[in-house]
Symmetry: C3
Subunit: 247 residues, 3 copies
Amino acid sequence: MTPMSGVVTLLTDFGLEDPFVGVVHGVILTRCPHARIVDLCHGIAPHDVREAAFWVSRCARYFPPLTVHVVVVDPGVGTDRHAIAVQTGDHVFVGPDNGVLTGIFTGGDVVHRIDEDRFALTDKSRTFHGRDVFAPVAAELASGRVRVPEVGPVAHPMKLDLTPGRVATIDRFGNLITDIEASPATLHVEIAGVSVPVADTYGEVPRGELVALLGSFGTLEIAVREGSAAERLGVGRGEPVSAREAR
Amino acid sequence: MTPMSGVVTLLTDFGLEDPFVGVVHGVILTRCPHARIVDLCHGIAPHDVREAAFWVSRCARYFPPLTVHVVVVDPGVGTDRHAIAVQTGDHVFVGPDNGVLTGIFTGGDVVHRIDEDRFALTDKSRTFHGRDVFAPVAAELASGRVRVPEVGPVAHPMKLDLTPGRVATIDRFGNLITDIEASPATLHVEIAGVSVPVADTYGEVPRGELVALLGSFGTLEIAVREGSAAERLGVGRGEPVSAREAR
Amino acid sequence: MTPMSGVVTLLTDFGLEDPFVGVVHGVILTRCPHARIVDLCHGIAPHDVREAAFWVSRCARYFPPLTVHVVVVDPGVGTDRHAIAVQTGDHVFVGPDNGVLTGIFTGGDVVHRIDEDRFALTDKSRTFHGRDVFAPVAAELASGRVRVPEVGPVAHPMKLDLTPGRVATIDRFGNLITDIEASPATLHVEIAGVSVPVADTYGEVPRGELVALLGSFGTLEIAVREGSAAERLGVGRGEPVSAREAR
């Protein structure tokens, strides 16, 4: 038995309106009764693999060492895409091989393809591998009964181009969270043809003005003081952004 | 003490905007500190007893044996409707006696009426029995201190007519999840005057076309590839559906 | 080590669309692995300190003694507002010093200002103290390693005027939940120039009629039978309400 934290996080595009997340909890608890399951987020935009890749890479550090992170944003479910698992540093990650784990790779990682026939529920569906494949694998890993190298053969995972320079996600207030690491030298950001000044706090700009700030996950965020930057600029996830040292 | 899994699931129409679900957790944890509470779903359409009946019957199997499932969709709260508990197979169910548990009955079940005076919180409200009645009973059952036959006298529960042939629920993507068990002989389904072909995968139909598929909970689902079947057909929960072996 | 229940509740305006709540769980579980974290509610209207003050004062009683309640509705995050902790009766509360804890004070409470430099994450952000300050303090308190008097010096907390007479919150059905304790002598309530009769049950008024009832948290609620009182009256949170013994 490998010592594990017993914590399992779930990051999906399932939403919370339906019982999809609930049955994933059930499958994990059936196989790992002491698991501590955390709903990291189920509000990823449907099929937005890049948004999920951003969040898992930014959030994993806040969980205990030897946590199992399950990421299921999986537009290719039911096709021949593989399922993979990897340990990087202190954390274990499980997800489809569609690039969603790109942001957590550190360079020398050994990724394993999951032997689905061995781990899946006996009545595996075509469309719900979060419940039928990823949950049982996560439970085996979280319990310490199975180690990552034992889930299947070594694989060469698909990777996304995550070169910074985009709006990674938009929060409920309309703030545009970019994937650009903040630097003290950055004085402006450019987005949608608009130059936005970088400030230390909201207080430095008038109400209703655009401003770029260091966000709480270490990247630049574009905001409107007491307003919505997404509405103001009319942009969405994926919009290009560039950081400038001066205008 | 009866051995129990300690897992308690909650299936309600409370939504997650308000603290109603949170205080149910509090009441359960006060009486059963080791309970593992799973929010199976709180997005049941308000008062839709049939939708809840569908989901509890389809989801319970994914939880550990000796789980307590609490179903609170309860338009008759505050009237003289009873509260009931039953064990069927390995699982325990608690809910109002309004038919919401119909789908989990197996034929020879012995249902018990809950003695509310014995279990309810001392300041029981008229309108929130999820917190004041069902949560404390669930905690007693999950702790193993009370067994189902001890909650009150044998009852003859109300049952709904759950004859298949309807849209049971609609997921966040607009897929129509029916209550019709999929059969290899089914070639078409009929809904709202439209004949929809059954396929094995989305890939068999062009984008934007209606298709019926085996859904992830074992029933037929009606979908539009990369679209919303609910919008396309203009139908809602309860819409009649029939399965045809040929057109 | 102080004995604690290990239960931690979270009441915020973070919403559930993003991973903000999830990482708060992660920080707590990292420092207090046995914590039982309950999402009391994350749907507080953004920055509505009064709504949060209402709910925490009404909900804490449903949790086990020695629970730690974390309330993060914090429009002043990043300014020089303090963070505070207090034990009243059997419960411990943590939050910003902006009045959000006013409703749980009992008169002789000794409030402590949290020494943020001692407890905060090393890379504390300007804008996410729920994760960076309140979560680590809550974990230390819930673990029993730190007692309230040890978090920092005695403070004189800011208090809101919570004199009853307002719509405190509106539930998903459009019911107006007031902060007025129900009394048997109350025969009418007045809101927005309309006199609404008090009844014992919905059944006493016709469908579509306004009625005031004893709500499930002990205060008067204004409802429309099978409708939305918020829409009918066109009012929102904070609307004045008065209770009358006769018209």
